[in-house]
């Protein structure tokens, strides 16, 4: 919590400066009050502060004192009374448009509501009247970096630097602004100049901040592409760098890229010696020795390591990657033997990457099957071994391996027979039940899958991993209630599981939940879950706010730059993709099938009613609806109030102006009855278009949206982008023929340059070879998709298949 304190101190200074510049000056007594108000605000004694404000404002002479009004607003805001706060601050501003305090407070309010652009405007206005106010400049710079106004950030940082050249943070912030604008040279020079102002220390001293600064400076050099200088810089300062691992890693990497592979090799060997299980080091060594493309050399290299260190798995595993045929088998035997002896559950996961090579798959299968026979009959792995040389559990793990093996190959029956054999052998091993559940899932029997996963869960109720797996399986079987109960065994007491999972940003659960709601036609609930996930991403982006000051002060600059770069592409995360995809398809469904106010039964029953009855009933329904609406509103209001209360409590206990207003509650009914589902869908689509550009689903969804919005150009764009990614995707072909029909029927009605343009573009697409062979290839691709679908359990390819069957069935 240290840094909050420090910040409030700075704020204190700032506000005092503000104070001294007050233009409409208060008499000494009131002035003393005003000073106390500032102190009370900093110390979070809001009630006292508010009283003092009222004291000043109650004096007739100062009832309109602008800055007191502003302070009152600020305090009210911190107490969670946002609307009153705005009223007061606006009044203050009106009274004195030239007061920087009023503008400053207005900016703070806007910032606390996450209206960053507005906040910047307010700060700029404040600075017009007090251009050198450090506090305001600092806050402005934070908001600027937060919304990535990099040029503005650089200018503000420059100003801060000029005003406070003695402060370390001024130099570093200034340099960082240039770094972020890719002006590496200036950034480097600023840091170099700053280092010269520091007193050089004698000999190596443990100064972590200095070490981080040096490494950061080195990153700038590396980013600039001047690798020679980076090497030189790193070596010169080696004695000041505390993080020796990063030092070696960076140096080795730099050597590789400057053609000094001999030196790089030495360092990589040292690194491997220190941590023989880091694959990156071996990759580096491969590059240094220039054996990347030479499997034989690589085998020799890894063999040398596997001899050195008996206990290390990685080199042994890598040998399996690069050997073939007999040699592969020779290395596979001891590898399997030691893993089965140990009882390594992840053995299959470990070897699965080898399954891209069908020869290796056969070798593995033959080997393990022969091992099973030897283990079963003689308790040994191989014929040339002594009887009973293998532990009794080895057979179990061999069965388990084969179950996973056959499951992976799609041979579910054999997989099931092996897992059953294993369960007969040892019915207490939890992994077996999980495996069984997985096989059921892959056969499409989701209910049985959930049942078996629950069985596994009950064997160890303290294991949260199985608990979560089990919840996921229940969700996939559309049993949301059961899933919630299962999760509830681990969530915090006193809150409902769903609330707690939302609070904990448990996105996998929420996404699976949304999908389950979607499958069961509960559109509003599904959308609610998707929006919750979307909000988590917003929260994560907002959470970086605190780091803008913290990182500069703590000198964790490399991590900070990484953080900024991560936040820039945050929505590229698969979690977002999945949730957005779900939301878009729900909105598309709602567009195609808008929800009706009355339920179906009622509609049917109205058919055979007398007009009088009908009228009566309609009245009744209207009343009922009204009542329901009122109730809903009341419930919503109550919920909001509760949340508001909670938040304001939080605000009072923590920092007043760093928490956003309580966001609007997500109501399923409201979400599903949206007036413009396509507009909502586009909101989810946009991040996908920028961050999930290489996924075909993005463009297919885009097509679906734009085809409903009648936007031929955007449809064309989506189709073209999708074609670039996978021109054999079955759904894409469906869309292509759909698109052709659409254009042909409407081309005449389009405004002038469009028909010609579209025709030429269409010609390009539809004369391509792929489309010529559409019928044959299409069915090929569907077969390959459904048989070897990478996302088993994901029904997209199956839907595509059924859609296509309805759409254009092939002639044969």
């Amino acid at each position: 919590m240290g840094f909050w304190k420090e910040e409030s101190c700075q704020q204190h200074e700032g506000n005092c400066e503000t104070m001294s510049a007050t233009k409409v000056s208060l008499p000494p007594k009131e002035n003393a009050h005003f000073k106390r108000i500032l102190k009370c605000y900093e110390k979070k004694h809001y009630k006292i502060g508010l009283k003092l404000c009222n004291k000043i404002l109650n004096e007739p002479a100062f009832s309109d004192h602008a800055e007191t009004l502003a302070m009152k607003g600020l305090i009210l805001n911190a107490m969670g009374r946002r609307e009153e706060a705005y009223a007061d601050v606006r009044r203050g501003l009106k009274k004195d448009l030239r007061s920087h305090t009023c503008w400053h407070v207005y900016g703070l309010l806007q910032r606390s509501e996450r209206k960053y652009e507005e906040a910047i405007k307010a700060y700029r206005n404040a600075l017009k009247h007090d251009p050198n106010n450090i506090q305001i400049l600092r806050e402005l710079s934070i908001v600027q970096i937060h919304i990535r106004d990099l040029r503005g950030y650089r200018d503000t940082r420059h100003q801060l630097f000029n005003l406070k050249p003695a402060q370390r943070a001024s130099w570093i912030g200034f340099a960082m602004a240039y770094h972020l604008l890719n002006d590496y040279d200036t950034a480097y020079k600023i840091l170099e100049a700053f280092r010269k102002t520091q007193n050089p220390r004698d000999g190596p001293v443990y100064d972590y901040e200095n070490s981080e600064l040096l490494l950061y400076q080195n990153t700038i050099l590396e980013d600039s592409g001047d690798l020679e200088s980076a090497v030189k810089h790193l070596i010169e300062n080696s004695s000041y760098i505390c993080d020796k691992t990063t030092y070696s890693e960076t140096l080795a990497n730099l050597y590789l890229h400057t053609g000094k592979s001999k030196l790089g090799e030495q360092i990589y060997r040292k690194l491997i010696n220190a941590n023989p299980d880091n694959y990156a080091y071996y990759q580096g060594l491969e590059k240094a020795l220039a054996v990347e493309d030479n499997p034989r050399e690589k085998v020799i290299l890894y063999s040398s390591f596997s001899k050195d260190k008996k206990k290390v798995c990685l080199p042994n595993r890598m040998i399996l990657e690069y050997t073939e045929g007999e040699a592969f088998l020779e290395h596979l035997r001891p590898y399997m033997e030691s893993a089965l002896t140990k009882g390594a559950p992840p053995l299959f996961t470990d070897l699965r990457p080898l399954y891209t090579d069908s020869n290796k798959v056969i070798t593995i299968q033959k080997l393990v099957e022969s091992m099973v026979i030897q283990l079963r009959d003689y308790s040994r792995y191989f014929e040339d071994q002594e009887v009973k040389s293998a532990p009794a559990s080895a057979l179990l793990w061999a069965y388990y391996y084969l179950a996973q093996h056959y499951d992976h190959l799609g041979n579910h029956e054999t997989a099931m027979s092996y897992v059953d054999k294993a369960i007969d052998h040892t019915p207490t091993l939890i992994e077996l039940f999980m495996c069984k559940a997985k096989i059921y899932k892959h056969t499409g029997d989701l209910a049985s899958a959930a049942k078996w996963m629950d069985e596994a869960r009950e064997l160890d109720t303290a294991d949260r991993y199985i608990n979560s797996k089990c919840a996921k399986y229940f969700l996939q079987a559309n049993d949301i209630e059961q899933a919630t109960t299962v999760c509830g065994k681990f969530t915090r007491e006193g809150a409902t599981p769903l609330d707690n999972l939302n609070e904990m940003q448990c996105m996998w659960f929420q996404t699976e939940c949304a999908l389950a709601y979607q499958r069961t036609g509960q559109w509003g609930e599904s959308l609610k879950k998707c929006h919750e996930v979307d909000r988590h991403f917003n929260e994560i982006i907002d959470d970086q706010y605190d780091f803008h000051t913290y990182c500069l002060r703590k000198m964790t600059l490399r991590s900070y730059v990484q953080l900024l770069r991560l936040e820039d592409v945050l929505r590229s995360h698969p979690f977002y993709f999945k949730a957005a995809k779900c939301a878009i398809s729900v909105y598309l469904h709602l567009y195609d099938h808008p929800l009706k106010n009355q339920s179906k039964d009622e509609q049917i029953s109205t058919d055979n009613m007398s007009p009088a009855d009908l009228k009566k009933m309609k009245n009744k329904q209207r009343k009922a609806r009204k009542k329901l609406e009122v109730e809903q509103q009341a419930a919503a209001a109550a919920a909001e109030k509760k949340e508001h209360h909670l938040k304001s409590k939080q605000n009072a206990s923590e920092d007043g102006d760093n928490h956003p207003p309580p966001s609007e509650e997500l109501l399923p009914e409201k979400l599903s009855s949206t007036q413009d589902p396509l507009k909502e869908a586009i909101k989810f689509l946009q991040p996908l278009q920028s961050f999930a550009y290489d996924k075909i689903d993005t463009h297919l969804l885009a097509y679906e949206i734009y085809s409903r919005k009648n936007k031929p150009l955007l449809m064309l764009q989506s189709v073209k982008r999708a074609l670039k990614i996978d021109d054999r995707h079955p759904k894409l072909h469906q869309f292509l023929s759909n698109f052709q029909e659409y254009i042909t029927s409407r081309i005449s009605s389009l405004p002038d340059p469009l028909p010609e343009f579209l025709q030429s573009e269409m010609a390009k697409i539809y004369t391509a070879k792929v489309f010529q062979d559409i019928k044959d290839i299409n069915w090929d691709s569907i077969e390959s998709k459904t048989l070897f679908s990478k996302h088993r359990g994901d029904d997209s390819s199956i839907t595509a298949l059924s859609d296509l069957k309805l759409g254009d069935s092939p002639s044969n």
Binding site: G343, A344, P391, S393, L396, D460
Partner: protein
Amino acid sequence: TRLRPRGTQSWAGLGSTRLVEGQCARRKTRRSLNGERDFLPFLFRNLITVRNKSVICKLEYQNDMTRARIALGEVTVHNIRQLKRLNTVVFPVSYNDKFYKDVLQAGELARLAYYNDVVVGGVCCRVDTSNGQRELYIMTLGCLAPYRRLGIGTIMLKHVLEYVRKDENFDAIFLHVQVNNDSAISFYQRFGFNIVETKPAYYKRIEPADAHVLRKDLRENNNSANNSINN
């Protein structure tokens, strides 16, 4: 709340981190009561404590020179289903809910046996004072078929014998065995148990229904019994 990926706990964790309590690694030879030379190669006694929110799971390791690891662990509300599953497979008799409820209260008198970190055996006892004496009754002691003759039963029984020895207040240990279960009878006889009684029609739904009562008195030859276990 435990947050560990399945599989990492068992084989990675236990091998490397060991909290050793009273390590005694020595070669043991002893003569059992019936005069056979019994050889226990190399005995480690390590205590491994895994803590989480509600469970403290103690695994007591006995390591021999072979590659298998055998250990005893507590029965808790979280893993009792494993014991249930084990008992339904191992014993022809099925036990009711009360049995398992009592087991949870039994503390050291209920143990699961782990072989290479897989549950393969279990022992459950209770204190019986029904005939005026303080006796320990072994309700179940069993091991899955593929893991028999590996010393797991011995470790479980030794755990029980050690318990009564430390307690010093037991008059006897006894248990029931189906009359045709020769391997079990000879197993207990090796530890100084004797058939003292045969109860006809003791079991309800299994054949043969008769049971031997195997009993080991602790009062008369307290010293010799202790010596034979611990020397």
